[in-house]
Amino acid sequence: MVEHRSLGSKIFDVLNLTILVLATLACLLPIWYTLMISLSEKAAVQAGNVSVFPIGFNLYSFESILSDPRFFQAVWVSVQRVVIGSIFTMAVLVLAAYPLSKSNRVMPGRTFTMWAFVFAMLFNGGLVPWFLTMKAYNLLDSIWGLVLAGGVPIFNLILIINFIKNLPEELEEAAKIDGAGPWRYLFEVLLPLLKPVLATVLLFTMVGHWNEFFQGMVLSTQETSYPLQTYIQQLVVATNLENLATLSVEQMNRLLKLNNESLNAAKIFIAMIPVLIVYPFLQRYFVKGITLGSVKG
């Protein structure tokens, strides 16, 4: 079909493309800029000359991270947290979502249990009681504290439940006739079908564990317990913000010369890498998972 397009329509198309490209750049350039800072020489960074390309390209920042045991300790805590935390969360979620997708008729008490979860999702005791509970459980400075604190994301549980409910009921009947019990049905029939929604939840869980800094800060009494994000928060962000509030512009410029922005940028960039790697692979899943899970039958 040949379409007649008015001048206004053509102008709109050009404007639209420009806006969308600018929006895209606005999301990518800050990340690119961080990488460039980390690869540039100190003097150029301090003078504010670095923009889209590195100036005085060098790998010194990344080399000096290699000799920083505190950074590696923090990375190690985060890696443990992501691995153990994701396994724990996925296992508990899958086991809980299947029975909770039953109707109350099949499983009396299911609706009440469901409301208990929803209530816990919407209401909490607040920060202080939560902290004192974690302390009473002896979960400070422990990887298990970080794994368990947000261990069962209820919103994601509901996402999986809704996904299961959208599957045809005949599926289970057929499996039952073939003699499959609940466990075999869950692991052999249901699990493969849940791939899109589980990929979504896994992505959120992994990224969530990797990105979390607050529990890492509150539940740690010593620096060696910090996950990476808490380490960066305490060493880069908190220091910077404190300086902003207490120092004059001259003092700050002097400090800037001592402070190594390239090194900080390198740490920040390394902290982004896992997300940058994992995310494109799972993109097709999370878009599907979100839209399917939010539509219920």
Binding site: N16, L17, L20, V21, A23, T24, C27, L28, I31, Y33, T34, A47, S51, V92, L95, A96, P99, V106, M107, T113, A120, L122, F123, N124, G125, G126, L127, V128, P129, F131, L132, T133, L148, G151, V152, I158, N162, K176, G181, P182, W183, N211, E212, F214, Q229, I232, V237, N240, L241, L244, A245, V249, L256, N264, I268, P280, Q283, V287, T291, K296
Partner: protein, 301 residues
């Protein structure tokens, strides 16, 4: 018949066994902490514990309402949260509509992949990046200088802080929030557009009479459900961006509770402020869900 019933009961036992880990977690990490709410009504002394501490009724709440700090904090929270709610509904909508109108379809995927990205980076990371970008010698100030403007000390300006917080939140999430709109857009019946073409409707007319009505339910639903977030100004973001110079406009309930409760160790007072937030939020979210169910037929599960 008997065998089927027996099987059913057996299945039932297994269902509950599957639920055990989640239930233990729910009780240990969600319901047990709720007992700590008692502290809000006590002059809590950690040495004496919940049972030994003196009960003081609503004293903590009375004290709270007298503090001018708390009023400032409440106002900041409301302004920031409201700005975010509005921005997070409108900007992703506009973005989704623009993307939907893009003629260069081969670019859609690249654009989407790029704009979803900031959502997956933490505020610690993004704030570190912003501290660099908006610093005195950073690229943003270089740009301002290029256009002949004075450099701005963004992180120290109390009068700019809320805008800064709201703006950066929208920047982080507009792409991700557009997913739900884009999904709704694909659900619009294509024959409606063809009919509009036959009627000679232009692009603007089609946007107004076909596209927007087609996703109206989604917009209304998102608006209603975001109501519950009106006391949630975003701890992670504000905590990683604020400093004492901007407390007057940037301090929010969650940061206040953190400082009062865990840094100054005023456990009972911190609990009281937190409880007030929890209760009000709970009521608002519940009302939101109820409205969504009544008007759009939305169900949580």
């Amino acid at each position: 018949m008997e065998k089927i019933t027996k099987n059913k009961n057996l299945d039932l036992k297994h269902y509950w066994i599957m639920l055990v880990p989640a239930l233990i977690w729910l009780i240990m990490f969600q319901f047990v902490p709720m007992f700590g709410i008692m502290m809000a009504f006590q002059d809590f002394n950690p040495g004496l514990g919940f049972l030994g501490s003196e009960w003081i009724g609503l004293e903590n709440f009375r004290y709270m309402l007298e503090l001018s700090d708390v009023r400032v904090v409440l106002l900041n929270t409301l302004i920031i949260a409201f700005g975010k709610i509005i921005g997070n509904i409108i900007v992703p909508l506009i973005f989704a509509l623009l993307l939907n109108e893009l003629r260069q379809k081969y670019l859609v995927k690249t654009i989407q992949t790029s704009v979803y990205l900031p959502h997956f980076l933490s505020w610690v990371i993004l704030s570190s990046i912003m501290l660099q970008m908006f610093s005195f010698t950073g690229p943003i100030n270089n740009l301002l200088e290029f256009f002949g403007k004075e450099p701005v000390m963004f992180f120290q300006r109390a009068d700019l802080f809320r805008q800064f917080v709201i703006g950066s939140e929208i920047w982080k999430n507009f792409g991700f929030n557009s997913i739900i709109y884009l999904a709704a857009l694909t659900g619009i019946d294509q024959s409606l557009y063809e009919a509009a073409d036959i009627d000679g409707a232009g692009r603007l007319k089609k946007l107004w009479h076909v596209t927007l009505p087609g996703i109206r339910t989604t917009i209304v639903l998102l608006a209603i459900l975001s109501l519950g977030g009106i006391l949630d100004a975003g701890f992670d973001q504000v905590y990683n961006m604020y400093n004492p110079l901007v407390y007057s406009t940037g301090d929010i309930i969650d940061t206040y509770v953190f400082r009062a409760g865990l840094q100054e160790l005023d456990f009972d007072f911190g609990t009281a402020v937190g409880l007030l937030k929890s209760v009000v939020s709970f009521i608002l979210i519940s009302v939101g869900y109820w409205l969504a169910k009544k008007f759009v037929g939305y169900r949580i599960f």
